[in-house]
Symmetry: C2
Subunit: 147 residues, 2 copies
Protein backbone atom coordinates (compact mmCIF):
# COMPACT_ATOMS: atom_id res chain seq x y z
CA UNK A 1 0.00 0.00 0.00
CA UNK A 2 1.37 3.37 -0.91
CA UNK A 3 0.06 6.67 0.33
CA UNK A 4 0.79 9.05 -2.45
CA UNK A 5 0.63 8.78 -6.21
CA UNK A 6 4.38 9.27 -6.40
CA UNK A 7 5.42 6.22 -4.49
CA UNK A 8 6.31 4.21 -7.59
CA UNK A 9 9.20 4.95 -9.91
CA UNK A 10 8.06 6.89 -12.93
CA UNK A 11 8.51 6.03 -16.56
CA UNK A 12 10.18 9.41 -16.89
CA UNK A 13 12.86 11.20 -14.94
CA UNK A 14 11.51 14.71 -14.87
CA UNK A 15 9.15 17.03 -16.62
CA UNK A 16 11.61 17.58 -19.45
CA UNK A 17 11.16 13.89 -20.26
CA UNK A 18 7.44 14.36 -20.38
CA UNK A 19 7.76 17.37 -22.62
CA UNK A 20 9.94 15.34 -24.94
CA UNK A 21 7.19 12.71 -25.02
CA UNK A 22 4.71 15.39 -25.92
CA UNK A 23 6.80 16.76 -28.76
CA UNK A 24 7.43 13.25 -30.03
CA UNK A 25 3.69 12.75 -30.11
CA UNK A 26 3.32 15.86 -32.23
CA UNK A 27 2.12 18.07 -29.42
CA UNK A 28 3.44 21.47 -28.51
CA UNK A 29 4.87 22.57 -25.23
CA UNK A 30 3.46 25.87 -24.07
CA UNK A 31 3.34 27.91 -20.89
CA UNK A 32 -0.10 26.49 -19.98
CA UNK A 33 0.93 22.91 -20.56
CA UNK A 34 4.05 23.47 -18.46
CA UNK A 35 1.94 24.89 -15.68
CA UNK A 36 -0.37 21.88 -15.65
CA UNK A 37 2.55 19.48 -15.59
CA UNK A 38 4.31 21.44 -12.87
CA UNK A 39 1.21 21.52 -10.68
CA UNK A 40 0.81 17.77 -11.00
CA UNK A 41 4.47 17.23 -10.34
CA UNK A 42 4.45 19.33 -7.20
CA UNK A 43 1.24 17.82 -5.88
CA UNK A 44 1.33 15.56 -2.90
CA UNK A 45 -2.06 14.14 -3.83
CA UNK A 46 -4.39 13.92 -6.84
CA UNK A 47 -5.68 17.29 -8.01
CA UNK A 48 -8.89 18.47 -9.64
CA UNK A 49 -8.63 20.48 -12.86
CA UNK A 50 -9.76 23.48 -10.85
CA UNK A 51 -7.03 22.96 -8.27
CA UNK A 52 -4.45 22.69 -11.02
CA UNK A 53 -5.54 26.01 -12.44
CA UNK A 54 -5.37 27.65 -9.03
CA UNK A 55 -1.91 26.32 -8.34
CA UNK A 56 -0.74 27.58 -11.68
CA UNK A 57 -1.35 31.24 -11.01
CA UNK A 58 -2.80 32.77 -14.15
CA UNK A 59 -0.79 30.44 -16.34
CA UNK A 60 -3.69 28.23 -17.45
CA UNK A 61 -7.39 28.58 -17.81
CA UNK A 62 -9.78 25.80 -16.90
CA UNK A 63 -10.82 24.67 -20.38
CA UNK A 64 -7.21 24.49 -21.47
CA UNK A 65 -6.28 22.61 -18.35
CA UNK A 66 -8.87 19.99 -19.28
CA UNK A 67 -7.55 19.83 -22.84
CA UNK A 68 -4.02 19.39 -21.58
CA UNK A 69 -5.03 16.73 -19.11
CA UNK A 70 -6.81 14.88 -21.86
CA UNK A 71 -3.69 14.90 -24.04
CA UNK A 72 -1.45 13.89 -21.19
CA UNK A 73 -3.82 11.10 -20.33
CA UNK A 74 -3.69 9.87 -23.91
CA UNK A 75 0.08 9.84 -23.62
CA UNK A 76 -0.19 7.69 -20.53
CA UNK A 77 1.52 10.26 -18.36
CA UNK A 78 -1.56 11.31 -16.44
CA UNK A 79 -4.47 9.37 -15.01
CA UNK A 80 -7.61 10.34 -13.13
CA UNK A 81 -10.00 8.82 -10.62
CA UNK A 82 -13.61 9.61 -9.83
CA UNK A 83 -14.31 9.88 -6.15
CA UNK A 84 -17.73 10.17 -4.63
CA UNK A 85 -19.40 12.98 -6.49
CA UNK A 86 -16.61 15.54 -6.62
CA UNK A 87 -14.74 16.46 -9.79
CA UNK A 88 -12.24 14.02 -11.25
CA UNK A 89 -8.79 14.00 -9.63
CA UNK A 90 -5.74 13.95 -11.83
CA UNK A 91 -2.27 12.70 -11.09
CA UNK A 92 1.01 12.04 -12.81
CA UNK A 93 1.75 8.35 -13.16
CA UNK A 94 4.83 6.53 -14.20
CA UNK A 95 4.56 3.45 -16.27
CA UNK A 96 2.05 0.85 -15.20
CA UNK A 97 -1.50 0.78 -14.00
CA UNK A 98 -2.61 2.00 -10.61
CA UNK A 99 -5.78 1.20 -8.71
CA UNK A 100 -7.46 3.16 -5.96
CA UNK A 101 -9.31 3.10 -2.69
CA UNK A 102 -10.94 6.16 -1.26
CA UNK A 103 -12.48 7.17 2.02
CA UNK A 104 -16.00 8.48 1.60
CA UNK A 105 -15.64 10.45 4.78
CA UNK A 106 -12.29 12.25 4.64
CA UNK A 107 -11.71 12.03 0.91
CA UNK A 108 -8.37 10.30 1.25
CA UNK A 109 -7.19 8.46 -1.84
CA UNK A 110 -4.97 5.43 -1.71
CA UNK A 111 -3.03 4.41 -4.78
CA UNK A 112 -1.92 0.79 -4.98
CA UNK A 113 -0.26 -1.48 -7.45
CA UNK A 114 -2.81 -3.71 -9.19
CA UNK A 115 -1.05 -6.79 -7.87
CA UNK A 116 -1.96 -5.75 -4.35
CA UNK A 117 -5.60 -6.12 -5.26
CA UNK A 118 -5.29 -9.46 -6.96
CA UNK A 119 -6.62 -11.41 -4.00
CA UNK A 120 -9.67 -9.17 -3.94
CA UNK A 121 -10.05 -9.46 -7.68
CA UNK A 122 -9.80 -13.25 -7.51
CA UNK A 123 -12.45 -13.41 -4.85
CA UNK A 124 -14.81 -11.23 -6.81
CA UNK A 125 -14.26 -13.19 -10.00
CA UNK A 126 -14.80 -16.47 -8.21
CA UNK A 127 -17.93 -15.38 -6.43
CA UNK A 128 -19.60 -13.16 -9.00
CA UNK A 129 -17.91 -13.76 -12.29
CA UNK A 130 -16.82 -10.14 -12.52
CA UNK A 131 -13.30 -9.10 -13.38
CA UNK A 132 -13.00 -6.09 -11.09
CA UNK A 133 -10.99 -3.01 -12.00
CA UNK A 134 -10.40 -0.16 -9.57
CA UNK A 135 -8.31 2.04 -11.79
CA UNK A 136 -10.89 4.62 -12.73
CA UNK A 137 -13.57 4.06 -10.12
CA UNK A 138 -12.09 3.19 -6.75
CA UNK A 139 -13.12 0.98 -3.89
CA UNK A 140 -15.21 3.32 -1.75
CA UNK A 141 -15.35 2.97 1.99
CA UNK A 142 -14.03 4.28 5.28
CA UNK A 143 -10.33 4.45 5.88
CA UNK A 144 -8.75 3.18 9.09
CA UNK A 145 -8.68 6.67 10.61
CA UNK A 146 -12.32 7.36 9.85
CA UNK A 147 -13.81 4.13 11.08
Amino acid sequence: VTEAPHAEPRAFEDLEDVRRLMRDAGHRVSAPSRAVLQALFDAEAPLSAQAIVERGGDAVELASAYRNLERLEALGVVRHVHLGHSPGLYMLVGGGEREFLTCERCGRVESVEPAELDAVRDLVRERFGYEARFGHFPIVGRCADCR
Copy 2:
Protein backbone atom coordinates in the same frame (compact mmCIF):
# COMPACT_ATOMS: atom_id res chain seq x y z
CA VAL B 1 -25.99 -13.41 -6.31
CA THR B 2 -29.22 -12.03 -7.63
CA GLU B 3 -29.74 -10.66 -11.07
CA ALA B 4 -32.44 -8.11 -10.68
CA PRO B 5 -33.24 -5.56 -7.99
CA HIS B 6 -36.47 -7.41 -7.23
CA ALA B 7 -34.98 -10.72 -6.29
CA GLU B 8 -35.30 -10.14 -2.54
CA PRO B 9 -38.61 -9.97 -0.72
CA ARG B 10 -39.72 -6.41 -0.22
CA ALA B 11 -40.57 -4.69 3.00
CA PHE B 12 -43.90 -3.84 1.38
CA GLU B 13 -46.43 -5.90 -0.49
CA ASP B 14 -47.43 -3.54 -3.22
CA LEU B 15 -47.45 0.11 -4.13
CA GLU B 16 -50.40 0.78 -1.88
CA ASP B 17 -48.17 -0.17 1.02
CA VAL B 18 -45.59 2.31 -0.15
CA ARG B 19 -48.19 5.02 -0.47
CA ARG B 20 -49.30 4.31 3.04
CA LEU B 21 -45.69 4.71 4.15
CA MET B 22 -45.58 8.04 2.39
CA ARG B 23 -48.74 9.31 4.00
CA ASP B 24 -47.55 8.12 7.39
CA ALA B 25 -44.40 10.12 6.83
CA GLY B 26 -46.49 13.20 6.18
CA HIS B 27 -46.08 13.14 2.41
CA ARG B 28 -48.87 13.35 -0.13
CA VAL B 29 -49.68 10.90 -2.82
CA SER B 30 -50.19 12.55 -6.18
CA ALA B 31 -50.41 11.49 -9.79
CA PRO B 32 -46.72 12.23 -10.37
CA SER B 33 -45.59 10.31 -7.32
CA ARG B 34 -47.75 7.37 -8.39
CA ALA B 35 -46.21 7.44 -11.83
CA VAL B 36 -42.68 7.36 -10.43
CA LEU B 37 -43.51 4.48 -8.15
CA GLN B 38 -45.26 2.57 -10.89
CA ALA B 39 -42.36 3.00 -13.29
CA LEU B 40 -39.96 1.67 -10.69
CA PHE B 41 -42.26 -1.18 -9.84
CA ASP B 42 -42.62 -2.23 -13.46
CA ALA B 43 -38.92 -1.92 -14.20
CA GLU B 44 -36.87 -5.01 -14.75
CA ALA B 45 -33.69 -3.08 -14.01
CA PRO B 46 -32.59 0.18 -12.35
CA LEU B 47 -33.87 3.30 -14.12
CA SER B 48 -32.53 6.81 -14.56
CA ALA B 49 -34.78 9.71 -13.58
CA GLN B 50 -35.10 10.47 -17.27
CA ALA B 51 -36.22 6.92 -18.05
CA ILE B 52 -38.78 7.10 -15.27
CA VAL B 53 -40.26 10.24 -16.75
CA GLU B 54 -40.41 8.67 -20.19
CA ARG B 55 -42.11 5.54 -18.94
CA GLY B 56 -44.63 7.65 -17.10
CA GLY B 57 -46.11 9.30 -20.16
CA ASP B 58 -46.73 12.94 -19.33
CA ALA B 59 -47.52 12.09 -15.73
CA VAL B 60 -44.31 13.46 -14.23
CA GLU B 61 -41.78 16.04 -15.14
CA LEU B 62 -38.07 15.55 -14.54
CA ALA B 63 -37.55 17.92 -11.61
CA SER B 64 -40.52 16.43 -9.81
CA ALA B 65 -39.29 12.95 -10.51
CA TYR B 66 -36.05 13.85 -8.79
CA ARG B 67 -37.92 15.33 -5.87
CA ASN B 68 -40.04 12.21 -5.54
CA LEU B 69 -37.05 9.94 -5.76
CA GLU B 70 -35.35 11.94 -3.06
CA ARG B 71 -38.35 11.53 -0.75
CA LEU B 72 -38.71 7.86 -1.50
CA GLU B 73 -35.06 7.38 -0.87
CA ALA B 74 -35.40 9.07 2.50
CA LEU B 75 -38.21 6.63 3.29
CA GLY B 76 -35.89 3.76 2.45
CA VAL B 77 -38.14 2.55 -0.35
CA VAL B 78 -35.86 3.61 -3.16
CA ARG B 79 -32.10 3.48 -3.62
CA HIS B 80 -29.75 4.55 -6.38
CA VAL B 81 -26.35 3.60 -7.75
CA HIS B 82 -23.84 5.55 -9.76
CA LEU B 83 -22.45 3.65 -12.67
CA GLY B 84 -19.61 4.78 -14.85
CA HIS B 85 -20.45 8.32 -15.81
CA SER B 86 -24.11 7.99 -16.71
CA PRO B 87 -26.92 9.43 -14.62
CA GLY B 88 -27.83 7.75 -11.34
CA LEU B 89 -30.00 4.67 -11.59
CA TYR B 90 -32.92 4.29 -9.22
CA MET B 91 -34.66 1.17 -8.02
CA LEU B 92 -37.25 0.05 -5.55
CA VAL B 93 -35.78 -1.89 -2.65
CA GLY B 94 -37.36 -3.82 0.12
CA GLY B 95 -35.97 -3.66 3.58
CA GLY B 96 -32.23 -4.05 4.01
CA GLU B 97 -29.14 -2.78 2.33
CA ARG B 98 -28.06 -3.84 -1.14
CA GLU B 99 -24.66 -3.62 -2.73
CA PHE B 100 -23.77 -3.59 -6.40
CA LEU B 101 -21.43 -4.74 -9.11
CA THR B 102 -21.58 -3.36 -12.61
CA CYS B 103 -20.11 -4.23 -15.95
CA GLU B 104 -18.29 -1.30 -17.49
CA ARG B 105 -18.85 -2.78 -20.90
CA CYS B 106 -22.50 -3.81 -21.12
CA GLY B 107 -23.82 -1.73 -18.26
CA ARG B 108 -25.29 -4.68 -16.43
CA VAL B 109 -25.95 -4.10 -12.74
CA GLU B 110 -25.86 -6.87 -10.19
CA SER B 111 -27.56 -6.39 -6.86
CA VAL B 112 -26.37 -8.56 -3.98
CA GLU B 113 -27.00 -8.87 -0.30
CA PRO B 114 -24.20 -7.23 1.70
CA ALA B 115 -23.39 -10.55 3.35
CA GLU B 116 -22.34 -11.93 -0.01
CA LEU B 117 -19.59 -9.36 -0.13
CA ASP B 118 -18.34 -9.89 3.39
CA ALA B 119 -15.38 -11.99 2.31
CA VAL B 120 -14.34 -9.24 -0.08
CA ARG B 121 -14.90 -6.63 2.57
CA ASP B 122 -12.83 -8.59 5.10
CA LEU B 123 -9.99 -8.92 2.67
CA VAL B 124 -9.99 -5.22 1.90
CA ARG B 125 -10.13 -4.28 5.57
CA GLU B 126 -7.30 -6.65 6.41
CA ARG B 127 -5.04 -5.54 3.59
CA PHE B 128 -5.77 -1.85 3.40
CA GLY B 129 -7.61 -0.86 6.52
CA TYR B 130 -10.63 0.28 4.53
CA GLU B 131 -14.17 -0.73 5.38
CA ALA B 132 -15.52 -1.09 1.85
CA ARG B 133 -19.10 -0.26 0.95
CA PHE B 134 -20.56 -0.94 -2.48
CA GLY B 135 -24.04 0.33 -1.87
CA HIS B 136 -23.80 3.62 -3.65
CA PHE B 137 -20.71 3.19 -5.80
CA PRO B 138 -20.43 -0.35 -7.15
CA ILE B 139 -17.60 -2.67 -7.89
CA VAL B 140 -16.78 -1.85 -11.50
CA GLY B 141 -15.47 -4.45 -13.87
CA ARG B 142 -16.35 -6.85 -16.65
CA CYS B 143 -19.12 -9.34 -16.17
CA ALA B 144 -18.73 -13.00 -17.10
CA ASP B 145 -20.40 -12.49 -20.47
CA CYS B 146 -18.23 -9.53 -21.41
CA ARG B 147 -14.87 -10.95 -20.46
